[in-house]
Amino acid sequence: MKRKLSLVLVITMVLSLALTGCGNQPQAPAAPAAPEEIKIGSVFPVTGAIATFGQSSLNGTQLAFEEINNAGGVLGGRKLVLINEDNQSKTEETATAFQKLITQDEVSAILGSVASSHSLAGAPIAQAAGIPMLSPTSTNPRVTEVGDFIFRACFIDPFQGQVMAKFALETLGVTTAAMLVEQDSDYSKGLAEYFRKAFEAGGGTIVAEEGYKSTDTDFSTILTRVKATNPAVVFVPAYYGTVGPILRQAQAAEIDAVFLGGDGWDSDKLFELAGDAANGGFFSNHYSPDAGTPEVDAFLAAYQAKFNSVPDALAALAYDAAYMLAQAIDEAGSVEGAAIRDALAAISFTGVSGTVVFDENRNPVKSAVIIEIRDGKQVYKATVNP
């Protein structure tokens, strides 16, 4: 019987080797075919729990690459090729995707991933291989702390939390706030944590903090609890997919507080989900559609033309990240990892979300705008500098 067992094992081992060996063949001839193309990897989730975010990010990146290539590419005519690996919204898959992009596709740089927890799984691999990684949307401060090859294009959690707390205290002049926090999203928890700190430091009180999960659809009980504490503002740091129903159910529950949020609110789907319940809310964002800068106008028009929808913040950030990377490659004059890294670290980039430079932790230093929702439209309210 034992004999049988070990035979089985040998067979399966040989099988596994043979199978992985087979994978080698189609890859081999592809390499020398187009020497002047520059391969850029991206790890955006196109399936799984946060597939919508991945899709937006991918759209933004694709649009940017298309524009860059149509304008003649980088490094004097070399085209950018995007290889996206879907990580299925999973951390393990992110690690595999990074390994594949780096060792198999031999990409020069990686854009991604979306969620901070995913980026944290990929970052050590990119860092060890010396491949620059630029995450458009991972807000957790610890992502870029992994090493000097890791960059991001978005605000970090503390900044947005502080911006909204300051806005509530100073502009709205309120002293009581409630928070609705998506407990399975590190983005939501991060923003809430720093909102609380800044709000309490400024003399305000958090009268209620309620948790929910991204898969929840019934918010009526937590909203009833919030209503009982009678807050002046309610901070809902989450993405539009959950913010929409929350606002709508809050309207039905007759909560007459001002609702505040972060860049996750930025989507025309919010109006579709929340209806007129969205009116009167404020959120922080990277740019305002009516800012009138040429970059914003060009981006909005091109995105609308290509995808027939209004871009959300994720698409805008991915679009900026792609341009930022292209500029860094141009300035580096090479596709070598360390050269791109140095160029990124020293970059001064102007894009949709304004002018960006990196601080010593490879986090972007850029200003935020506060947007008011009025009559189903985003209206510019104020600019907050870091």
């Binding site: 019987m1 070990s6 089985v8 199978l19 595999t96 390994q99 060792t103 927890s117 799984a121 407990q183």
Partner: protein, 338 residues
């Protein structure tokens, strides 16, 4: 004696092969991506074989295998990341990792006992729902536990897992589960699968055996979780979802309910297929669910049934084929003669 000696020899030989592969990986003869994928294959083998013990051998239906992997992963991660927590600080490096993996497995086994006892006591399909609910409860508890990072996950683990470690674990799992199945306990489990009422009538304490099998399977799921955590160097509450349980289930079903070698083959094949067909990722789950439905409809015992893949089986089926071919030829000749 001689038989036992040859079995041990073969095991040693097998381990030597595994070690040689590991050396080839260290020398970068096998690139890192392949190394990574092969390690994952070995981990999935552990997951699939242990799930087969519940679903295939015992005829029960667990949908929470990923949950037990999560328990093992977090337990082990806590131990390896905190040098003086749970285990004394004298254990460091790989020794600590091995002990942590064992403890992770034990923790998963303990939880498996607690989940299994109430639901396995009953006849019927409650285990499926209870294990499913258990997976959700684990996720919620982890989200609310700030010590392990809540939603952001628990990261910054050392990379202890390499191919050889995972390979070794898979060999240990296969050996122990094989031996269990061939023991009297294993036969009792099979009798439960075939006819629970008859088994009980014959004096088989059905609940006890179901729980034993469930606990063993949970233990190995926990160790697999630890391996996975120290490969990705982080764990998040979203790491071990329902989808993972379904993937493992499909491996068991594809390989045949009750067939260990089938599970091994299916785990390797499906992991390979997922990598090879990366472009079709969006349709992967559709394909998986269709596969699951069709296998159940047309081969309710799983694609390969409960036979073990072995040389003698191959020889036999080859003989059969040849005999059939001969017969056909002979028929052909006689037909032509007529």
């Amino acid at each position: 004696m001689a038989k036992r000696f040859s079995a041990i020899l073969q095991l040693v030989l097998l381990l030597a092969v595994g070690y040689a592969i590991q050396m080839a990986m260290d020398a970068e003869l096998i690139n890192r991506y392949y190394a990574h994928v092969m390690t994952i294959m070995a981990i999935f083998v552990v997951g699939a074989v242990s799930l087969n013990l519940i679903n295939g051998i015992c005829g029960q239906f667990s949908l929470g295998h990923a949950g037990f992997m999560a328990v093992g992963a977090y337990t082990a991660a806590i131990i390896t990341k905190n040098p003086d927590l749970i285990l004394p600080a004298i254990f460091t490096g790989n020794i600590r990792f091995i002990l942590a993996t064992l403890l992770g497995g034990m923790m998963a086994a303990l939880v498996g006992f607690m989940v299994g006892l109430p639901s396995l006591r009953l006849r019927g399909d409650y285990l499926a729902i209870v294990t499913l609910g258990f997976g959700e409860i684990i996720r919620i508890l982890l989200l609310n536990w700030d010590f392990v990072g809540g939603a952001s996950g628990y990261f910054g683990l050392a990379r202890h897992t390499n191919f050889f470690a995972a390979f070794l674990l898979s060999i240990i799992t296969i050996t122990i589960i094989r031996n269990f199945i061939q023991s009297s306990h294993g036969r009792a489990c099979i009798s439960i699968r075939e006819d629970e009422i008859a088994a009980e009538t014959m004096g088989v304490p059905t609940t006890r055996y179901k729980v034993i099998a469930f606990v063993i399977a949970s233990f190995f799921a926990g160790t697999a979780g630890s391996m996975m955590a120290h490969l990705t160097q982080m764990v998040t509450p979203a790491s071990f979802t329902f989808i993972l349980s379904i993937e493992l289930l499909l491996m068991v079903v594809l390989g045949g309910l009750g067939s260990i070698s089938g599970s091994i083959g299916a785990a390797i094949f499906l992991t390979y297929a997922a990598e090879a067909l990366r472009a079709f990722r969006a349709y992967r789950m559709i394909l998986y669910s269709l596969l699951l439905i069709f296998i159940m409809l047309f081969r309710p015992k799983g694609l390969l049934g409960n036979q073990e893949l072995s040389l003698s089986l191959l020889r036999e089926s080859f003989k059969n084929l040849r005999a059939r071919w001969r017969r056909k030829k002979k028929d052909g000749i006689t037909a032509a003669a007529e």
